[in-house]
């Protein structure tokens, strides 16, 4: 008898025992030639199932259920919240003036772009990003911008972790999560490779290079101007960019974890998980798109 045949017999017995409720003896009678070998295995499987049929504590389960329902309600409430609600009104006004009236150029925008959390110009930076997202019409354009902004958030997380500011790391991690979630939605509802290829890249949105060079493999150029889109469609270019960011940002955050003060490490570990899971979901969504 081959291993495969025995695997099938064992599985048949397990189905009968665990699903159909047959007794051990009934199963063994079906396969007398293999009974001696099957018996200890089936006993082990039965014991494992019985012993592992554990339940979470009832009080924990009740608490978890309450927490989950609260999260559901928050999510429902969050859907109706304006995306502009996060920024101070003055920062929004400044951002709109900078982007619309001055065309997104000038020293103030550059200064805001490179500002970090805690800086007076940081709210302008966030508001400017929101203006750009709003003004970018194509889904692929928005997705590209989202990828750049997620990359920027990771750089900010590493920077604030280095400063030992756990609170800011937590806040920026939420923003990173929001950007990656939005990216998944944008990619999932993309209008197809041919359509997005025609979408112009967002102007003047190239972020500062924040990630270290990859250990191996080609490095897609930061920003979008240098990508040969005639040979590579927009979705593929985005996939390359996200794959690159996923690897490099993970390396950047792990490197930051080695250097960060103890007080910021827990928050940074959470950020690493969010980054890893988020980028993985984006890549999955890109594969399916």
């Amino acid at each position: 008898m081959t291993n495969k045949e025995f695997d099938n017999i064992l599985n048949d017995c397990l189905e009968r025992l665990l699903v159909k409720g047959e007794s051990l003896e009934q199963c063994l009678e079906r396969y007398p030639a293999q009974a001696a070998e099957l018996k200890p295995l089936l006993e082990t499987a039965l014991a494992a199932r019985e012993a592992a049929a554990i339940q979470p504590r009832p009080d924990f389960k009740a608490q978890a259920s309450y927490q989950f329902r609260s999260a559901l309600e928050e999510r429902a409430a969050g859907k109706s919240r304006s995306s502009w609600g996060w920024f101070p009104r003055w920062a929004t006004v400044v951002a709109i003036v900078l982007v619309l009236v001055l065309g997104g150029g000038g020293g103030t925008v550059a200064a805001a772009d490179s500002s970090m959390p805690g800086s007076p110009l940081y709210p302008v930076k966030l508001a400017t990003e929101q203006v750009r997202l709003t003004l970018t019409l194509s889904q692929m354009g928005k997705a590209r911008l989202c990828a750049e902004l997620a990359d920027e958030r990771v750089a900010e997380i590493a920077y604030m972790a280095d400063k030992g500011d756990a609170e800011q790391v937590v806040i920026i991690t939420r923003r990173l999560e929001d950007k990656l979630d939005l990216l998944v939605v944008l990619v999932g509802g993309s209008e197809g490779a041919n359509g997005v290829l025609l979408a112009p890249p967002p102007a003047a949105t190239a972020p500062p290079t924040t990630a270290p060079p990859p250990a191996e493999g080609p490095m897609p150029q930061k920003g979008w101007g240098g990508i040969d889109e005639s040979a590579q469609n927009g979705t593929q270019a985005l996939r390359d960019r996200v794959a690159y960011d996923a690897a490099n940002n993970q390396a950047l955050l792990n490197e930051a974890l080695d250097k960060a003060p103890e007080r910021a490490r827990e928050a940074l570990r959470r950020a690493i998980v969010v980054s890893e899971d988020g980028y993985e979901e984006v890549l999955e969504a890109l594969e399916q798109s």
Partner: protein, 180 residues
């Protein structure tokens, strides 16, 4: 399957009751899956809750392709476990008084707790793939076909892992008994 698809679609459209129903249906199985994988019933509670909070955040990215919704949840749970194990060295913390007892008999509960501890400890001796199969088959009660989908393997490969996993588990349990 049709009902589940409809439930998932409603959850994606922000139907709170639909998502709450999915939560109730899958919570215990995901918990058992995680508990066996990490060998720690207390940590498994928090990780299970995190799996559902993560699923809530990313439900919009779920695409129905005829695969059960549970396959997606187990994928999230798997990632959560991998991350947990990477961050923390596996501990052999006792289960203490954390397991819900099923009876009013303290002695029976104590014996049962010992059984659980033995199985959880023995499961840590298995390879990652074997533990995954044993966990999905015997604690989450998925069929071979469902386990194959969750793991992205053929049914034949899952059956082979099931066989070798049970053999390894038996061996590990025998070693545990001999040590006592």
């Amino acid at each position: 399957m049709q009902d589940e698809e409809s439930l998932v679609r409603r959850a994606q459209q922000n139907d709170q009751e639909a998502f709450a129903q999915l939560y109730e249906e899958h919570f215990d199985r995901i918990y058992r899956y995680i508990a066996l994988k990490i060998g720690d019933a207390v940590e498994a509670e928090d990780l299970t809750q995190q799996v559902f909070l993560n699923s809530l955040r990313s439900i919009s990215s779920f695409r129905w392709k005829g695969r059960p919704f549970s396959a997606w949840l187990y994928r999230i749970a798997h990632n959560q476990v991998v991350d947990y194990l990477r961050k923390k060295k596996r501990s052999d913390l006792p289960l203490e008084e954390t397991l819900a007892s099923g009876s009013d008999d303290p002695q029976r509960d104590a014996e049962r707790r010992l059984d659980i501890e033995q199985v959880l400890a023995a499961a840590q001796k298995l390879t990652e793939a074997q533990r995954e199969v044993i966990s999905l088959r015997f604690t989450s009660e998925l069929s071979i076909a469902q386990v194959a989908e969750v793991m992205g393997k053929s049914q034949g490969a899952v059956k082979a892992l099931q066989h070798s996993g049970i053999v390894a588990l038996r061996r590990a349990l025998m070693v545990t008994e001999n040590d006592e």
